[in-house]
Amino acid sequence: MKKTISALISVFVMLTILSACSGGGGSETNSNANNNGATAAPTASEESAAPEDGGDSAIKGEVVYLTNRTDMIDKEYVDYEKRFEAKYPGVDLKFEAITDYDKTLKVRMASGQFPDVVLLPTIPNNELPDYFAPLDDIEFSGDIYFKELKAHEGKMYGVSSGGSSVGIVYNKKAFEKAGITAVPKTYNEFLAVAQKLKDAGIVPLASNFKDKWPLDAWLYDVPTLVGEASDHQNKRADTDAPYAMDNVYGKSWSMLREMYEKGYLEKDVNSTNWEQSKKDVASGKFGMYLLGNWVINQVIENGAAPEDIGFFPFPADNSGAAKAPLNPDWFYGVNKDGNVEAAKAFVKWMIEESGFDEFAGFIPTLKDKQPALPQLVEFNSYNPTYFEPAPPVDAATQIQNKAQLDQGAVLQEFVLSKDPQKVLDKVNASWAKAKKDLGL
């Protein structure tokens, strides 16, 4: 009997060992990398803050930047490393690229050790000081965008790697063919342009309605332009009926509905194809997109000549004033237990000298710097007033999750429904109920 038991135990032991193997495999590589980041940390960070100019003695040791751009490893980053280390000879810069960035980084932060420079994960702003060093003492050569967005109690913990805007991306050849000579400055002009495109046999606006996410601009950006304020998503938490025909959402969504009814969108909006739409905008079968400037390079990759693609602010009203949202990309953050001084120098260098914003097609974080993408230059030539986003408020997100509200689906229903008011009533009812249930 004893032997039976010992045999059984050995089976157990083997099983646990096996499972431990598979569990450990993933984390092992992580902890190695963490150690790389941490070993050099104390030496540099203990010295006092010093100006960031080249060759300073405080800026030395190893700096690890955890990036999400796996495509730049062994390519652009080789050049970045060479240039950065030439400026700061005492620094050993290393890049580590991971996928599924947000989730992986959170796990590594929970373990207590993570690289010196990271892209800030989605955590509430009041938790930022627990992990990251304040970056207010980096002296940039000019004013920067998005200062307030990753801040807590007056201190800034994140510097945006770049910005992007949302507007109308259009095919100039298609506009020419339809006899359109100037880009529309008002909403009525915009509708007239759409009509002309339609008459010329071109689909005026590629909405990619079916895929839902391309409609995000109508949820977040167009309401910003209509209300000339970017905190509309947060303000929903103050009311029981955030969606109404005469507020920013009703007004924005009615525009899409109007275009749908007038036949300015794809022939069958429930059967759209995103990949195909890029080719069609490139070839001029479709006239316009309402999307971020990130799509411009993708349209060009799909066969459009760069000079044929233009970008102008979406005229959300008839005032004639150009307005555009300005949305941040990932934010750089510095590990407060890492090689802080060298990390800050790296962040400053990334913003000012690396040329990353040009490579990525961003609007530079430095307000004075002109974007490199010609379409963005065109966009800025209309002198749009930029609206920076407001820091998110938890309450609105909580209610939205409790009410299981998918705004994209609501917008789709709003456009397709015979009675849009009913759709809004239904959403408001579930919003009010969720708000009450949460006691907010």
Binding site: K3, K210, Q404, L416
Partner: protein, 296 residues
């Protein structure tokens, strides 16, 4: 190590240790998560926070009282209806391909092939077939002269979309059902048919009185697969329509995934999963009850 034991003991030891491994795997990876699911269904866990507050039956009340949640079963009906048709077609093809037919192995292969394809790949493929303006289906209809029909939005009409999607699973699983029926048909002794022929039975009578009773158990099995498949369909609407237009093709599992991973409401999603499990058990019990005793 084993030499000191009696044969009896050795036997027991071997059997015991061999069974322990799969049992442990089963317990850790199937039963423990299932129990954990039930436990979570009584909490309001949001998927991130450390504390899981016990909230009693509130999640279950929500599942049954909220028409937005329970009402989506309506959309699963289409898959069930098409599933029945699919089984009838499968029996038909099985009988035809069980007889004397030139190139029957080729036909069997052709009908079975779709089952091997990956579900997501199939969904993508049909995305191109059903496309309204550039799709091959509408192109074919147009070429055949059905101009009106060639304008159909297969995935864009709320009355049609579920049947369009269910037809894809018909295409995909019919061959699989057919192969199971074929195996059953081949196990029927041929002297039964011979005797029936001598008695003067025609083909239809042979089918009704010999074939059907002999494959009854298999029909039951295939219906079981069809019903659970209809209740748990997920990949097709997830890839092709995301539940649209306006929720017309949303299935229960799609709703569960949304609740958990989009709205971070893991507690409610767990309750929905438990309800789905119960639902499958209930539907199967009814089916067993209705078919009980026949074919024995």
């Amino acid at each position: 190590m084993l030499s000191g034991m009696s044969i009896q003991k050795q036997r027991k030891l071997i059997i015991f240790s061999f069974i322990t491994v799969p049992l442990l795997l089963l317990l850790t990876f199937a039963y423990y998560p299932a129990l954990e699911l039930v436990r979570l269904s009584f909490t309001d866990w949001d998927g991130i926070s450390a504390d899981k507050t016990y909230i009693g039956w509130a999640n279950y009340k929500e599942v049954f009282s909220n028409p937005e949640i329970f009402g989506v079963f309506r959309n699963n009906v289409a898959y069930f209806v098409v599933g029945i048709v699919q089984n009838i077609a499968a029996i038909y093809f099985a009988v035809v391909l069980n007889g004397k037919l030139k190139g029957k192995n080729l036909f069997r292969l052709l009908l079975f092939l779709p089952y091997i394809l990956n579900g997501v790949a199939v969904a993508f493929l049909f995305g191109y077939v059903y496309d309204t303006t550039n799709g091959s289906l509408n192109l074919l209809l147009g070429q055949l002269g059905f101009d009106q029909l060639a304008e159909t939005s297969w995935l864009g009409q709320s009355q049609l979309v579920d049947y369009s999607l269910a037809s894809i699973s018909f295409w995909r699983f019919m061959g699989f059902n057919m192969v199971i029926y074929l195996a059953a048909l081949q196990s029927i002794p041929s002297d039964l048919y011979e005797a029936a022929s001598i008695d003067g039975a025609n083909g239809w009578q042979k089918f009704i009185y010999i074939t059907l009773p002999n494959i009854y158990k298999i029909i039951e099995l295939n219906l079981f697969l069809t019903v659970t498949g209809a209740l748990e369909v997920f990949d097709l609407p997830f890839v092709l329509t995301k539940g649209g237009p306006a929720g017309a093709s949303e299935t229960f599992v799609l709703k569960i995934v949304e609740t958990a991973f989009q709205f971070n409401n893991y507690g409610l999603a767990s309750a929905m999963s438990v309800v789905l499990l119960l639902f499958v058990i209930i539907v199967l019990s009814i089916q067993r009850y209705l078919l009980k005793g026949k074919g024995e």
